[in-house]
Symmetry: C2
Subunit: 468 residues, 2 copies
């Protein structure tokens, strides 16, 4: 366990072993305007690599140009590749360690480089050139296919042969803490002969994790599977907000469009693969059918990470007795994928398509084998057939082990419910005012429970506002 001179609570998402990367706006006391920073999270602080580099630290990062942290976005650093990432991580772990005085003993440098997380505004970590969304969880694809085509034909013929994906919208990607508006759109009411235009009545979340691309490739030069992980800078949580009624009417034959492009939300901290390394986990074999050679991973190399995932909903009002209580509506894990991120990278580029630093590759909804691990309301309510109870349990929900550097938004679930829990409401799809929070973490167990040091993702959180 590494010790820092910066206070880090035992159950923090962001110990010195994590150091996830992000970008933020910081209004220094006395300054005339806010300034842009990139850097890492540590406990309840954002550590500015921008300020540390300007003060002469973080100079020798192999492959990274001078001033790589001066742009307010991490794209250039992401493009520099693993040697630069590793060097920055090692230097930061040293600079921030309990025994190192360079920052610890300089009040001026601490003031310039350590920003309280509660006082910053988190931004997107990188400009997202392109966002791709896959459909990589077998259980999710099976559930959705079963609803619409029956269990015998749940998976389309191509699904087990390639990671099905589509191009999403980059412009409408927002960081955690930004609230979103319920969309209007064209939809076909049940039994109607003609469509209408109006507010979506089926707004949903999707629990996903996205890979943030590092160096990427030139147009026409595919990334082979064996090199694919080298092009992943790290992972973030992703909520692929969806309007199911709009999507259902529009998506044949070219795929989702207005049903999805009104908002996609990500957690602001990119957790690096180096931080996740102790939590490598296997993925299921792909032998029925065996996949084609360009996608074939040796069992020993076929990997994901053991990241626990959860989604909480906090209703706008709830009852007067339950202010701010959160109901955890699903618990899943990043191991619940059939296709690895490396396979997504290799398939995406197989025809020559180029990936650029900062691009996002979403996993698609991550659902497990049990009803409680389904990653969206479409599945949890079986397309609206079954109402879902929003129940806040004692010791459950977003308040647990959540002392980390969030997105600056509210902190649901600070109070636990009584024995047996409290029912906050019932849902088929989301209601106006619902706050949806995705969480992800590795290790740590219950608060103060010991075990491996917790590596957390922080939150991906947004409130659904009424139609504008």
């Amino acid at each position: 366990m590494l010790e820092s001179f910066v206070t880090v609570a035992p159950d923090s998402d962001f110990p010195l072993e994590n150091l996830p990367w992000g970008a933020w706006e910081w209004h220094e006391p006395g300054a005339s305007a806010p300034s842009l920073h990139v850097g890492v999270a540590l406990g309840e602080h954002c550590v500015s690599a921008t300020a540390l580099q300007a003060a002469g630290h973080l100079q020798d990062l192999p492959g990274a140009p001078a001033g790589v942290f001066s742009h307010g976005r991490l794209n250039e650093f992401m493009g520099a590749g693993a040697p630069a990432w590793r060097a920055a991580r090692q230097q930061l772990q040293r600079l921030l360690s309990a025994g190192e005085g360079a920052v610890r003993d300089s009040r001026e440098l601490r003031q310039r480089a350590l920003h309280p997380a509660s006082a910053v505004r988190m931004l997107l970590p990188a400009a997202v050139g392109d966002y791709t969304d896959f459909y990589a969880s077998r259980q999710h694809a099976t559930n959705v296919g079963s609803m619409f085509r029956g269990p015998a034909n749940a998976l389309q013929p191509n699904w087990l042969h390639l990671p099905v994906g589509y191009h999403g919208r980059a412009s409408s990607i927002v960081p955690s803490g930004v609230d979103v508006f319920r969309p209007r759109g064209q939809l076909l009411p049940a039994g109607a002969a003609a469509p209408v235009f109006g507010p979506s009545a089926q707004v949903d979340f999707e629990l996903e994790v996205a890979a943030v691309i590092g160096p990427g490739n030139a147009l026409g030069a595919p990334i082979p599977l064996a090199a694919a992980w080298e092009h992943v800078f790290g992972l973030v949580l992703l909520n692929d907000w969806s309007a199911r009624d709009i999507q259902k009417w529009e998506y044949v034959p070219l795929g989702p469009f207005n049903g999805k492009n009104w908002a996609t939300q990500i957690s602001p901290w990119v957790v690096t693969l180096d931080a996740l390394e102790p939590f490598r986990a296997a993925l299921p074999p792909q032998d029925e059918p065996e996949v084609l050679p360009y996608l074939r991973e040796e069992a020993a190399h076929r990997r994901s990470y053991d990241v626990d995932l959860a989604v909480d909903i906090v209703p706008a009002a709830g009852s007067p007795d339950t202010p701010g209580l959160a109901a955890t509506v699903t618990r899943s894990n990043l191991k619940n994928l059939y296709w690895s991120f490396a396979q997504m990278v290799a398939h995406h580029t197989a025809g020559g398509c180029n990936l650029r630093p900062g691009d996002l590759l979403g996993s698609g909804t991550i659902s497990g084998d049990t009803p409680g691990s389904r990653g969206c309301l479409l599945e949890l309510t079986w397309a609206g057939r079954d109402e879902l109870e929003l129940r806040a349990e004692r010791g459950a929900g977003a308040g647990v082990g959540e002392t980390g550097t969030g997105a600056g938004a509210g902190a649901p679930g600070k109070e636990a419910a009584g024995d047996g829990g409290v029912v906050l409401g019932r849902r088929t799809y989301l209601e106006d005012g619902d706050t949806v929070t995705l969480r992800g973490w590795c290790g740590g167990g219950p608060p103060a429970g010991g075990g491996a040091r917790r590596i957390g993702f922080g939150r991906c959180e947004g409130k659904l506002l009424p139609c504008r």
Copy 2:
């Protein structure tokens, strides 16, 4: 007819009435490195707005920030809106007119601002944040639907109610003059039980026109139909290179992905709506069914432009008797749309999705009513059933009326074929070495034929290289 002191051939695509916008790299004789410029095409020259503004011209552009032409990309100018575009156009038409001495009489300024088109390297006019492709030609959708589902079910139920579209890939958009590699990919051979991975055998072009977005909108704030044209900076030609066999296997249920994302090509000059204004053309009524109010255009406001479109193919070798001869394989027109660009903008943003300056909205393949006006080989050969003869006719092909500022690539079709034409080859899909050229123009008639002054788009041209 406007007269410039710069020589403009009577059949040029780029008279003073046009002034389309682009970006390029120019290596000034004696300079140590190339420099980036934005500006307009005029006859055989690129006129640098970058240089003119640096010399004190083009200063008063309402809504545009100072130095708007100094970035090497046009995004900021596109975002400034119609008053700035109109002011720049008027000032350039005056500065470049025969009677105005400010540039004409300054040898130094002419050398800095007038770059021979043959000596520059054209770039993308703007950084493309997002690229969307629609499916807006009824005849194209009908042809494709007829092939796969029969004429009775050609159009999907949603097609007449909304402009169907999908998100494309922005990273792989290239300007005219860049050659592309035949992609490899996963495909299901006819009659096979399992897919294989290998070179696509069905590489196609798609004849499209794309709108380049101007100011755009904030997330959550739709652009109403009545304001939609104000958000279109201009139009370009677009070749949506497609691998039909890859597309066919992958596209259910989320739409085209690797079948399309390996290359999308655009003409480098953005023709403004002000230049196209004399060529406004009506679109067919939408009364069976009537479209919903948010998409309903009064007949008087429902518009496209009368832009003749053609696609030429020049085989790599041809016969020794036909070096460089071009076969025009289709002739269509921008009037062959069912959905207007204004409707595409309004629908795209109806749920709150934001458009940004420089975004591209492709029309989808533009096919007319006749077999000779089908906009892609999939239609021209009816999915490979009928071979297409590549015939170079006398007076036809890319050589006609094509003296404009191209993309710096080759100039096919300079020699006309003999009476009855010359057969250059036969195709179902494209062969390695085929050069595909899209052309578009308004007015002008045959060379020196009089009539309205020709407003041309130049070329969108690329060669299909063998698999890398």
